[in-house]
Symmetry: C2
Subunit: 876 residues, 2 copies
């Protein structure tokens, strides 16, 4: 027997979303529970995949089953598809498993031709309605099935309206519409070389094929890539009897939510139009009425609709987004689905529904998209103030949040201005590690170059500072301290405002509103903390970040990078001289200068975090990153160290690397310059001991050795660390405990984690580097091909945004298993960017890690995602 | 009961090499089979490891056991250690599992002090002998146990000789020697702050400890690293009763081999000195006599020795290297071991012993060190001619073999001169990919910069051309076309000669001798081919290389790199214009220019290899490698393409990468520029079809896609390849078969090999890149730390020379397993440099690969190593 490709609505239910798509499954479900739904059938997602695998051809089975179901539909409706007296018309819509814009649009009124249009005119007693429906059908079919430029159709309407002196489409007469139909058909003939298909079955098959084809149109592929939707889901096609909202004043159409999707308030929310078809609502020619008005217009229908909405929300146990049509006083439900909502609404609805007794706390947690919390965790523009804002340019929304301030063109000036209490926006062509402090001091960062993974973007996201990157329309002149945007010149000190969530740049200062973690948000977080198994730490390099993260609920610092502290203006000269030292003695001299400063950094961290753990990573980047690049600075450094410019340049050149990512960094530095980890260990230990004494807190420093690939490296550096730490303890008469662990970020470390665990007291997975090395490409250089990879659909997920479970994830799981073989109670966490990604967090929970660590502004997201993971993985 | 740490010679046997060390095991074995051996005992390697683990301290057990065995020795010898009348003296020697220079030297005459020296004088009736033995003992002990600068002792001797007007040590009188002893003791007191130990037991314990400590002296560690000897083997200590070869004219000492170690000839070979101790032979004061002379001097002893040598060779079934002493007419064997031999001798001895019926063919194959064949596979200097050679500089022995010719300073000039029939040596500061052709045309390459992994070194080894790299004493002036070596100026056209096996640079032309693969060598290769399971292919980019490899027995080409063909002077302009093309059409135009040339390359390869497989890798390196770097060439290219210099520079800059290794290369190029693999596929297919038609050979092209990390990449590029190949087949009316496979060189590819095998018809492990990515460092950049890693003993083996079985090897085995799950009959090979390394070959054999591929000059090594692997792994 042939496989079933087509299902009547009455055959399915809500659980068959994968087979019937979301829309089809819900139409079936509404049919099943007795709600008024225009009947029809669904061609399944399996049929779509089969169609594609078959070289874009409908199989004979499919065609036969569609025709058979059409016959069933004739019977149900009491009409007949293509009939010259009582013709059945249908709509054709796509409906994937997950709601997905970019797919094919709706086709209404399918089944009309020169014969059936007359029957419709006669039966409706409304020839204008019939011919308008016909021309609309041809226009939609021509556009979406035959891919004819829709402007060609619009041009005909405009032409006739101009000729006749009409202002609105509604002024077109029946004869005008007949002329439109004729001219539309001519366009189709010219564009396709064939007559417009007059046979309804032919129209139907073409429409079904067009839906299937649209699954792989570029917009749809891009959308799936952006939203991490697998490419093999396929779409279903829904064929449904037409009902008409444009049959008179007791007809209409509308959309509504069972609760307010912006605020979550429990009240029907939506709008409708009397005497209109769906597309009129969208077209915006007439202004729809709020749904409450329906109570006055058609009170009985309103009652029935309100009742239906309640049934649906109770049935689905979630806020519903519904489409309906009123055909001659009769209500028809065309669609229902769980409604999209803003993050505040999501929180309120979830909490309310728990309080109403509709869902459990676990369900409430599962209902909220963790990523969506992001919009609540950054400053936003005051909605009223924003209305006055003038957009002067647009770039990439590189780091979310809103910021306002005076513009400065160098990091130093930004920093100084901020120190004077000014609100600052740093404007640069692009940023580099030397700009860190200035970036840190700013309310926002604007760059005219660079993409989503540029230095500015990555660092800003880490800091939680808003950033608009790659604003190519703005000309930045750092030397002249000015920028030109939208034809106007802005100079140092002028106010601008940035929205890092939209990429918009505004003139002047716009008031911002700080994020709060209270009310429903706080309630959800409390539930999440109860539900989750994974701990949530934060990546923080400064007391300020640590404090912010604590407010957001961080339970420790999973990654404190010591190198960011090296870029401070007061320190960089000593850092550079340390790096360029000709011998160990000289290097130790400069390190001794740096030690007290590093110690103060760590004291600051411990004072904030108290007993909460802080994992401090020893110096990681290649040393050349700290060296000056511009001639003037090189000259100054040369003078300072008593060298000629040429000597200094040669000195700097000697540190050049072909592949810095694969070069002399991480523990490789610590092995060759043991005096560096010795200095850092001393700073950490002294800081911990002193703060412990001052505050009475029981501090256990966690010292992390980066980039280990072989147990021998770890052994060697650990020896330096332990020797120094023990010496400090002795000097200070302290019996403080401390732990020495390692990053797992080199494939070989994961593969030999059993050996490495002999010396490592904890593991922290550096999944950024691990991803780069496992894939064999650097993020800095992948720009040249990675977009093409995304467009071609190579990735189910972007491996830098969400961990590649098939490859990189296998290494993580191998390392967890091997590490625990050697040291069963070993603490293991993740400190890469994946630590803040909900999908990755689920994977890490399942893989048995103990914590994730993420930037402060992602801590609440991680808390919720960890709870969802625990619920899904059934671990807690 | 305490563990046994000490073994009498009579307790052990030859199989206990791991426990007793090589020397100890053989002394025990000789004792066991009744040969005359001065008796003694061995402190085991386990004791050494325990000593080190114990913080360099002998345990009580050990001390007690040594003392007890000393008592046994007193009994056996009929003398008594420390006795004032009949004192026992002993020698103390190190003896590791594997013979290992760099360890502690021998100490003779231990047990002497102010009392026993008199007894010895009296008993030997030779006070001079006794006092000379005493001063020698103090000197040796002071040097190797107490680590006192030995020049201090020499100075005393010199002082007295000068004072007395002596020329030789032998002129020293008993009184002189007594003075020497006193002054030696004073030195010891001054240097150590303590008296010279007079207690024999104390002397013994200190000597044993010194041997154990010497296991971890820097020289020993370096030697182990260089020779891939594990650091946890430990050394044993042999304590043996002294016999004296310096007791008169019926005493003597010598060393001998059972066969000639240079030629393999079956005849006693060695030398001896009458009336001498071992160190006299080494010191070179007197010239030793050939062993044959012993027949005249002491015919009975000679007979006994010849008989003993035969017993030993028969017993060990291998050529022996023996030390003996004649004490007052009595022969004593002090040591025997399998003798080291040159590669030709190894071959002859192995073949002879099979013919003599002593060993099997398998044993013969196992006896020959595969790596040692290298010296037979390159041109060498004629031995007579070399005697006249004048060394003018020395550098790194970067690529073996000898070469002579006129010097040229640019690749182009070298190429032109070679085209005119000149013998050429290319001299450069360093080489780059643009120099390939000139390097290829040269008999040898000399660079003044760069190490063993510099471009010159790596490429030269691949080509089998001799290379001396990093000759820092030579000043190369490429502009002036001259070099200064040893104070003399050499200009273009002057003759020099290079020995890439020693790193020596000679003035003038020295005649070379070509390698042959005949005689014993051919016999061994024949046996190896019968024994091995692994196929041996070669890496060859040119017909010349392929031909050379065929002569050496290659069974196919495992890696033909297409990019080397792109650097040809005739092609590089088109290559560059192709790369810098603004659009696909332009790029296709230049590719069309390149296609016929690539096709000719491949035809050349197929004409040589006929039906033997050739795996051709599609373009791999980042495109910027092909672009010019010097201003003049950039200008020329700009003119050629109608751009300004600035535009061209910007164009070139846009291809810059931060980490080229992790950038836009390999299949990533093929995905983004499908027209490149399309061109290359066309060239391959047309070449194969045409050569197949011309020769009737059944050619099956193997097209290999590099740098795949995801199955999606392979799918995409394979589609391009297959479409093009099918088109060519159709155009040519051919039904040729072909295979499309991939490199496994990205960690993720290994981890997901099951998925990748769905599309790959073969795997070739690129273990060079796989090693770099798995360790997370590039060879180009590792120079800054890798030497330190080696010195610190981080590596059991250099992972670039021999595959890292723990980490990288695990990925290889994972990929083999996963790949075979999907495609059980899949052909898998290795084409990294590891393919020519015997240890790695054993690992690959065990891992179930089908072939290894290596440079032409390593093919015979690989054939032998593959045979040894099959025998060891018991697979064939």
């Amino acid at each position: 027997m042939a496989k079933q490709w087509v299902y009547m609505f009455s055959e399915g239910n809500a659980d068959q979303r994968n087979l019937l798509g979301g829309k089809g499954a819900n139409l079936a479900e509404m049919t099943r529970i007795g709600l008024p739904v225009p009947q029809g059938f669904t061609v399944s997602t399996e049929a779509c995949n089969e169609y594609i695998a078959n070289g874009n051809e409908l199989s004979e089975d499919m065609v036969k089953q569609i025709k058979d179901r059409m016959k069933d539909l004739n019977e149900i409706s009491g009409k007949s598809f293509g009939d010259s007296e009582n013709p059945l018309l249908v709509s054709v819509r796509s409906g994937a498993r997950i709601s997905m814009p970019g797919m094919m649009d709706t086709i209404l009124n399918l089944g009309l031709n020169d014969v059936t249009v007359e029957a419709l005119a006669k039966k409706s007693n409304n020839p204008r309605f019939a011919w308008d429906s016909y021309r609309r059908f041809i226009q939609m079919f021509g556009d979406v099935v035959q891919e004819i430029d829709k402007n060609k159709f619009e041009a005909v309407l405009d032409d006739i309206k101009e000729r006749e002196g009409y202002k609105y489409d509604t002024e077109l007469t029946v004869d005008d519409l007949k002329e439109v139909v004729d001219r539309y058909k001519a366009i189709v003939k010219e564009e396709t070389g064939k007559d417009f298909p007059s046979e309804p079955e032919d129209q139907l098959m073409q429409a079904v094929e067009a839906v299937f084809r649209s699954w792989n149109n570029p917009r749809a592929i891009v959308y799936r890539n952006l939203n991490e939707i697998p490419h093999d889901y396929g779409t279903a096609v829904n064929v449904q009897s037409m009902v008409f909202g444009n049959m008179g004043d007791n007809s209409g159409t509308g959309v509504a939510f069972t609760r307010n999707p912006s605020t979550g308030e429990r009240k029907l929310y939506g709008e409708y139009l009397i005497n209109a078809q769906g597309e009129d609502v969208v077209a915006g020619v007439r202004t729809p009425e709020p749904i409450a008005r329906l109570k006055e217009d058609l009170p009985e229908v309103y009652e029935q609709f309100a009742e239906t909405a309640k049934i649906l929300e109770d049935h689905y146990r979630d806020m519903q987004d519904m489409e309906f049509t009123i055909d001659d006083g009769r209500l028809f439900m065309l669609q229902t689905r769980n409604g999209k909502r803003t993050a505040p609404a999501a929180l309120k609805i979830a909490v309310d529904m728990v309080n109403e007794g509709t869902i459990t706390k676990e369900e409430a947690l599962e209902r909220i998209e963790a990523k969506a919390l992001d919009q609540l965790l950054h400053p936003t523009f005051d909605a009223e103030a924003l209305k006055e804002g003038k957009v002067i340019a647009e770039g990439l929304a590189a780091s979310p949040g809103a910021g306002t301030g005076r513009i400065y063109f160098t990091a130093d000036e930004a920093k100084n201005a901020a120190a004077n209490g000014e609100d600052v926006i740093l404007v640069r062509k692009e940023t580099s590690p030397e700009d860190i402090e200035g970036m840190y001091a700013s309310n926002g960062i604007l760059t005219s170059r660079g993409g989503m993974t540029s230095h500015a973007a990555v660092v800003a996201r880490g800091m939680g500072t808003c950033c608009v990157a790659g604003v190519e329309d703005i000309v930045v002149d750092e030397d002249q301290k000015k920028m030109i945007a939208d034809g106007k010149e802005y100079t140092e000190g002028d106010f601008i405002s940035l929205d890092g969530s939209t990429g918009k740049v505004y003139e002047g200062s716009i008031q911002t509103v700080a994020p709060t973690l209270s009310g429903d948000f706080a309630t959800i977080m409390e539930w999440a903390d109860y539900a989750r198994r994974l701990q949530v730490r934060t990546n923080a390099d400064s007391p300020r970040d640590a404090k912010q993260a604590l407010e957001f609920g961080a339970e420790g610092v999973g990654l404190c990078r010591t190198e960011h502290m090296f870029f401070d203006e007061d320190r960089i000269p000593a850092v550079r001289k340390m790096i360029l030292s000709p011998d160990v003695e000289t290097r130790e001299k400069y390190l001794a200068e740096l030690m007290p400063m590093q110690k103060e950094d760590f004291k600051g961290m411990y004072e904030v975090m108290k007993e909460k753990p802080i994992t401090i990573r020893l110096l990681d980047p290649p040393l050349h990153e700290f060296l000056p690049t511009d001639e003037e600075e090189i000259q100054a450094l040369a003078d300072d160290m008593g060298m000629t410019l040429e000597e200094m340049k040669a000195n700097i050149d000697s540190l050049h690397e072909f592949n810095p990512m694969l070069g002399h960094r991480g523990c490789r530095l610590a092995v060759t310059y043991p005096e560096i980890p010795a200095m850092q260990t001393r700073a950490i230990m002294e800081a911990a001991i002193e703060v412990a004494e001052e505050t009475g807190a029981d501090i256990v420093p966690e010292i992390m050795i980066p980039l280990v690939g072989m147990k021998e490296e770890l052994e060697d550096v650990k020896k330096t660390v332990v020797e120094t730490a023990e010496k400090v303890k002795e000097e200070k008469g302290s019996d403080i405990s401390y732990e020495v662990g390692t990053m797992i970020e080199i494939p070989r470390a994961a593969l030999t984690a059993d050996e490495i665990a002999e010396d490592a007291e904890f593991f922290s997975f550096g999944t950024n580097d691990l991803t780069q090395m496992t894939f064999g490409y650097s993020r800095d250089d992948a720009g040249k091909f990675i977009n093409e990879y995304k467009e071609k659909g190579f990735y189910q997920v972007d491996p830098f945004a969400s961990i590649d479970q098939t490859g990189v994830g296998k290494l993580v799981q191998t390392a967890v298993k091997l590490g625990h073989q050697t040291r069963p109670d070993m603490m293991m966490g993740v400190c890469g960017e994946h630590g803040g990604d909900p999908t990755s967090i689920k994977f890490f929970d399942k893989s048995g890690l103990d914590y994730v660590s993420c930037s402060p502004f992602r801590v609440p997201i991680a808390r919720l995602a960890a709870a969802q993971a625990a619920i899904e993985n059934g671990k807690k």
